[in-house]
Symmetry: none
């Protein structure tokens, strides 16, 4: 499967929490790294999600916010800290890539060019990529 | 009222499923084409949604993910397959328009330019536009 | 037309910045309050946006993040600070409403129930609602 999503992660399902409409799914990407997704309950059922099952998670670059400085108290369930390894600016938007410690995980965000300037982003800087559980798409690997 | 949403669909409400906070609403766009939206329960109540009522659904181009290759098992409730009829690239983002079979429905996605290159997208190619139910805005027609 | 978007703001266009694919539009909601939206350039042209024109902005509750504590350095262009005036929790998601100073503006977010607990949210607490420019949907008033 090939998708346009710039961010793809893989890992086994570590937890499933069901609501009437929504289901929350936690993936264990690495021993110390989890990803949380909210999908509709019907989607979770269609995917036949079970604990331990290997699943892919996709996040669009445009769904990601960047946060500089000490970690804040923010509602977003997913917060991945890394170092800026690539900056690509345009007239309105800019693309920022972080590499997480160990180099295994990379995450790309599209933010406004103005935000890049305001935060004074540059390569080598420590930064946190933040995204909501509801921004995650899941896919099962057949 | 004119809106900025590139994607607008219309159809009667085919199903309503209520949760504590969210409500899932299914629209029948065509005999073989449904669209699923998640809105807050309060929104659904404010709109006074009832089965059979004609409703508009809006989806921002930036909420859409593109998927190439055979249909995978992905959590997104909305998957519209078509042919690429327009490609418009920029320095960071690119706009991709698909036309669905029959030509009645058109769907536009904004993805990163890098994704367009990585997927090797070109006009005429079959592609699936995927979006989460939570990315859909609904409007009632008074 | 009534929409499902829980958050609706109105104001004149204060700035327009055009890119190849995207256009950034700034609305002046109040003398000291701006809202920034990214829409596709084609959408901006379809809406015929001009400086000073009154425009509506819609944001889905699920596109909003909540941030507690002192203001962080975050890429999101829109940061609205207020006081929690309503909390409505469910099994997976929760709805949090902030009222901004003066009581003119209210903003509602849907976040996970777990985030509400982790942040220890309660009514009366100061909180910042954060959303990306790309999460905003614009409409012109004919």
């Amino acid at each position: 499967m090939k998708t346009s999503a710039r961010n793809q992660f893989a890992g086994p399902v570590a937890a499933i929490k069901e609501g009437v409409v929504d289901t929350e799914v936690t993936l264990q990407l690495a021993p110390d790294l989890q990803l949380v997704a909210i999908v509709t309950r019907e989607s979770a059922e269609n995917l036949g999600l079970t604990l331990g099952q290997d699943v892919l998670a996709f996040v669009k670059a445009s769904s990601i916010l960047l946060m500089a400085g000490e970690e804040s108290r923010i509602s977003a369930r997913n917060r991945f800290t890394g170092t800026v390894t690539k900056l690509h600016t345009g007239p309105v938007n800019a693309e920022v890539t972080l590499t997480m410690p160990g180099g295994r995980h990379v995450i790309t965000a599209v933010v406004t060019d103005d935000s890049v300037k305001r935060l004074g982003l540059e390569t080598g800087q420590a930064l946190t990529a933040v995204f909501k559980a509801s921004s995650v798409f899941l896919a099962s690997i057949d």
